[in-house]
């Protein structure tokens, strides 16, 4: 057992995580609460050869996605060539007309990608979703590893594991690569954001300044951080952890009080890098997901290395027929939802719910995708003194610097409920470290 030296320290390790404030925020009945993110000491272990395969596939996929975003906001060749129907591009909430004709620093859109995968019982890996806007989660295994190494050094002496504490270096390299001149900042909406721990921890680890919108200002086509003596310091890269619509009230949501007026104007002129690029949502829409293997072939002229989960688009007549005929065996996802919400299993719907859902599906076919339910490979967790199997996914992180960099680890999230496939932290899930063996 890889975790033999670790799980006896579960309580102490979780106490140390609490000491460092490893939490996430959650709103319940409009009240903000901070919750500890339960950590399971039994790691997910991935062999070197297996991760080498994943690494190749992840680099390929994110490179293609970056090309897709570049193409959509410029030439739109993929639409003209009939590979992706235009209604899937323009009707999605992630498409931003304001991004048309805008090329970010060094042509990088997908600076940080969080690609969610699951391993089936057939041992095949399947991509569940691409997160190209503000994927979070890397900080948790990074700090957990640090504490695990303190708890059981012999474990890390015995097994040869890639050190995942280099994530901050990879992130810094990514930010520095696109920096247009000046400081690098991490823009957070503030401590009541669900991922605030991560914002502050990554700022500490990368040496970037953690800021809120009110501390930045645009003047003379440049972005400045104003220090406490009133001195202005130029900012060249903003790793923003606020969504597109709140980034700039002058260009997006006018009601935003957490953004920076005119930041998008100077981004458009190439005077600051925004990480990740605005408009990326056009490529991580659940509907667009279906087309990613086609993008790989189209842009890279390669066969996709990683597979999607078998997916159907009710938008296509033949797929709609399949979905209606097999609804009991499928999982249906609302493309506008995230965080494990808007997901329904056909097998769990009542007769009335199913009838109502079918009416909605026929009325709004673009709104849903359907997928075969993948029989996840269960992984062990240590629960109340015993080892039990649970569903888990893996969020792999790909960073786009001067080359695509795959972090040799990842966030493994698991469901604590034995009957659930939903692993999201906001719905009670826990997390594990992900060990990538180096030999």
């Amino acid at each position: 057992m890889a975790a033999d030296g670790l799980y006896k320290y579960s309580e102490q390790i979780n106490e140390l995580l609490a000491r460092y404030g490893v939490k996430f925020g959650i709103y319940k009945n409009n009240i903000f609460k901070e919750q500890l993110f339960p950590f399971d000491t039994i790691p997910r272990v991935i062999k070197k050869s297996e991760f080498d395969y994943l690494e190749r596939g992840l680099k390929q996929r994110v490179t293609a996605l970056n090309e897709f975003i570049k193409d959509i906001y410029s030439d739109k060749k993929i639409i003209r060539d009939g590979v992706v129907p235009e209604e899937f591009v323009y009707s999605g909430s992630g498409y931003l007309a304001q991004c048309e004709g805008v090329c970010p620093s060094k042509g990088v859109y997908t600076h940080i990608s969080g690609i969610d995968l699951v391993q089936g019982k057939d041992k095949n890996w399947y991509i569940l979703e691409d997160n190209l806007r503000i994927p979070s989660g890397a900080s948790y295994p990074m700090i957990a590893r640090d504490i695990c190494r303190r708890s059981s050094p012999a474990t890390f002496e015995k097994y040869h594991i890639e050190d995942n504490r280099n994530y901050a270096k990879l992130l810094r390299r990514t930010m520095d690569y696109v920096n247009t001149g000046g400081h690098t900042v991490i823009l957070s909406p503030g401590r009541y954001n669900a991922a605030y721990f991560e914002h502050s921890y990554l700022a500490e680890q990368t040496g970037a300044h953690l800021v809120t919108g009110s501390e930045l200002t645009v003047e003379n086509d440049r972005l400045y951080f104003i220090d406490y003596s009133g001195k202005k310091e130029q900012v060249g890269a903003v790793y923003r952890r606020i969504s597109d619509e709140y980034l700039d009230p002058m260009n997006f949501n006018k009601e935003s009080v957490i953004g920076i007026p005119h930041i998008y104007d100077i981004y458009r002129k190439g005077n600051v890098a925004l990480i990740n690029a605005p408009g990326n949502g056009v490529a991580d829409d659940k509907g667009i997901y279906y087309f990613v293997p086609k993008m790989v072939k189209y842009y890279l002229n390669e066969e996709p290395i990683l597979q999607n989960a078998p997916t159907y688009l009710p938008y296509y007549k033949e797929d709609m027929k399949y979905v209606l005929d097999n609804i009991d065996t499928l999982v249906l996802k609302d493309v506008a939802e995230a965080g494990g919400y808007g997901v329904v299993f056909g097998s769990k719907m009542t007769k009335t719910e199913k009838e109502e859902f079918i009416v909605l599906l026929i009325r709004e076919p673009r709104r849903f995708i359907a997928q075969e339910v993948i029989d996840f490979l269960d992984i062990d967790i240590y629960d109340d003194g015993e080892i039990v199997p649970r569903k888990a996914d893996l969020r792999a992180f790909v960073l786009m610097a001067d080359e695509p960099l795959v972090w040799k680890s990842g966030l493994t999230r698991f469901s604590r409920d034995p009957d659930s496939f939903i692993v999201n932290s906001s719905q009670g899930g826990g997390f594990k470290d992900t060990w990538v063996l180096s030999e």
Partner: protein
């Protein structure tokens, strides 16, 4: 000197003040608590008067519980600790995770004390964690201005509290000297005339406690120094 935003300079200052308030009021509470046990049960009224907080308590038991733990009482030690935490939690990149952890541990200790049968024993851990926080701040914060702003808040609060509690003149003099040496290292705009006046008062045989409180509170005015950010 670290590049520091105005809001973070404000938070560092208040982190220093609230952490000191928790530390000193807890230690003072422990002394008064001892007196209340069998010597003077009404001692808490005097405590409230000195602290300049309303005596809303109905008995020594009510005081002991609510003054320590009532999250709805803005003057409680609990509320002051949460204010220290609220400032600390947004300063991780300035003070570091290791330093921040001691404020987090103080909060855990406070919550444990709240449900304990012997809260004073558990509250000692709050005091210990605040002391460890200051030790870590001294040891681990490399940026002189960041460290100095926390210490400035601590000194201002200590002078304010000591003066209210009629501490010995020598203790107040020592704190005024420490404050005078610290404030130029912060990079904050401050009133030099206040420092001159405080030192003038400290040199006298009899200390004018109310004026010392008034003066030290006017040393830094964050509403005056907030930079204007244009649209």
């Amino acid at each position: 000197m670290a590049i520091l935003s105005f809001s973070n300079s404000d938070r560092l200052y208040w982190l220093g003040r609230y952490s000191e308030r928790v530390y000193t009021t807890l230690r003072s509470f422990a002394k008064h608590f001892d007196t209340m046990i069998d010597l003077k049960p009404e001692e808490y009224a005097d405590f409230c008067k000195k602290q300049d907080i309303p005596n809303i308590y109905t008995s020594k038991e009510d005081f002991s519980r609510r003054y320590c733990f009532d999250e709805n009482d803005p003057n409680s030690i609990y509320s002051n600790l949460m204010r220290a935490y609220d400032n600390a939690i947004v300063l991780r990149e300035e003070i570091g995770s290791e330093t921040l952890a001691y404020i987090q541990l103080a909060v855990y200790a406070m919550n444990k004390a709240k449900i304990s049968d012997a809260p004073l024993l558990e509250l000692q851990k709050v005091v210990d964690n605040i002391a460890a926080f200051w030790g870590m701040a001294d040891d681990r914060i490399d940026e002189a201005n960041v460290r100095s702003i926390i210490k400035l808040g601590k000194r201002v609060e200590r002078i304010d509290l000591y003066a209210r509690m009629n501490a010995s003149p020598d203790e107040i003099r020592r704190e005024i000297h420490r404050l005078s040496a610290r404030v130029p290292q912060t990079g904050l705009k401050y009133s030099a005339s206040v420092i001159v006046h405080l030192n003038y008062m400290a040199a006298k045989t009899e200390l004018d406690y109310p004026t010392i409180v008034k003066e030290v509170e006017s040393l830094i005015d964050f509403t005056e120094i907030r930079p204007v950010i244009g649209l």
